[in-house]
């Protein structure tokens, strides 16, 4: 299964991007387009998730998943913060900033993971998209508390930290599209399905090509990572993802949704959280947190993490509900 997942075009284009950057090719996806594909992916994920929820109606599982997600996002930064200081030898500020990234989530990891789960008959429930949106923000708050116990920076206050955090573009678009998907239902979605459904995987290929280029260039350009932080950038997703899957199974979610919860817990943010960190923890080193989340954790999750979380979910599910 892992190899199968590795040989999908989506992953292969990511590897192509890595390779192209490592041989120092001038290949590049224009920034405006990469940003738009990111918007597109969020709209598509939101619409499809909302549409599924409109079909299935509100269920108890939904509330459980939402609760688990909030809990994970609030609490996962705590052990991470401790590990990053103890083993990673980071100072308080950097450890807090990195911890916030690992408590929050990566939309593209979720998107790629959902496709993999779907292809092996473990499609997660539509409401997991809402969980994705819920998990973006709480970790930021925990991270800030860890960093400075609530002290606020003069500049951050002016820059409107709260808006950056709660009305972050990706959260607004994800939640908004989810609601639109719920309102529109199957009938409303049909005419826009050629864009927001059929094109999804192809667009993901283009986006992952760019992710590969950016991740590799980041590794080449900035040497902010140490062996210790690289190891933590692999250990943290494994640990967080395992916790996420387990919580989901124990909460009674189906194997697919539990795997998706594991993917969310194991993924690390590289869009929403860095933007807030530059504003409120400017002393923290972006080379470090973007290096870890984008250049190590993301590739790890895309290739090995996702199949691993799925495998854990399948086996735990059998154990718990035999």
């Amino acid at each position: 299964m892992a190899l199968d997942a590795l040989l999908q075009p989506v992953v292969l284009f990511f590897l192509l991007g890595l390779l192209a950057a490592f041989v120092r090719s001038d290949l590049a996806v224009p920034e405006a387009v990469a940003k738009t594909i990111a918007l597109y992916l969020m709209m598509s994920i939101g619409l499809r998730g909302g549409g599924e929820v409109a079909d299935s109606g509100l269920t108890g599982a939904m509330l459980i998943a939402a609760g688990c997600g909030l809990l994970l996002s609030f609490l996962l930064p705590l052990p991470a913060f401790w590990l990053l200081q103890a083993l990673g030898r980071l100072d308080r500020t950097n450890a807090a900033a990195v911890a916030a990234h690992y408590g929050s989530v990566s939309v593209v990891t979720f998107a790629a993971g959902s496709e993999v789960l779907r292809s092996i008959g473990m499609a997660p429930a539509g409401f997991m998209v809402a969980v994705l949106a819920l998990m973006e923000t709480p970790a930021i708050l925990t991270g800030l508390l860890l960093a400075k116990g609530g002290r606020s920076d003069a500049l951050a206050a002016r820059g409107g930290l709260l808006h950056e955090t709660f009305f972050n573009g990706s959260v607004v678009l994800l939640v908004g599209s989810f609601v639109i998907g719920m309102i529109a239902g199957e009938k409303g979605f049909a005419p826009i399905a050629p864009v927001f459904d059929d094109l999804f995987k192809g667009m993901l290929c283009l986006f992952l090509l760019d992710m590969g280029l950016v991740a590799a260039r980041r590794l080449l350009d900035k040497r902010a990572l140490t062996l210790r932080t690289v190891i933590l950038a692999i250990a943290l997703p494994i640990a967080n993802g395992t916790v996420g899957v387990s919580l989901g199974i124990l909460g009674g979610l189906d194997a697919g949704s539990a795997a998706a919860l594991g993917i969310l817990a194991g993924s690390a943010s590289y869009i929403a959280v860095p933007a807030v960190m530059r504003l409120v923890l400017p002393e923290a080193n972006p080379g470090l947190y973007l290096g870890m989340s984008l250049a190590v954790t993301f590739p790890f999750n895309l290739t090995l993490g996702i199949p691993y979380y799925a495998w854990v979910a399948q086996h735990l599910h059998k154990v718990v509900l035999p």
């Binding site: 920034e31 990111a38 500049l155 409107g160 350009d221 002393e283």
Partner: protein
Amino acid sequence: MTDTITRRRIEVLADEPLMQAIERLAATAGIDHFTLLPLLGGKGRSGRWRDDQISGATSKVMFMAVTTTERADHLTDLLEPLLATHHLIVLVSEVEVVRGSRFA
């Protein structure tokens, strides 16, 4: 011949997420009018950056305002404590403007 008058051009290079905060600091210094310029990439003590990054968090923008010496100094004073922590660059130069009165 058109009359010109000498003013200060103050330029602040900063991360995009900080721009809103810098606009407000400038307003505090009495600088209400400004222009933002895009940047493509660069290299500093914290290494190389390029704007073709997935996360816009490390892309940078140039704030530029033409103003009086007093206000430019005031903004410089306000920015000074942030230079090290926030990785800002502040450049000040002389410029002649036509119809100086509007560049208070």
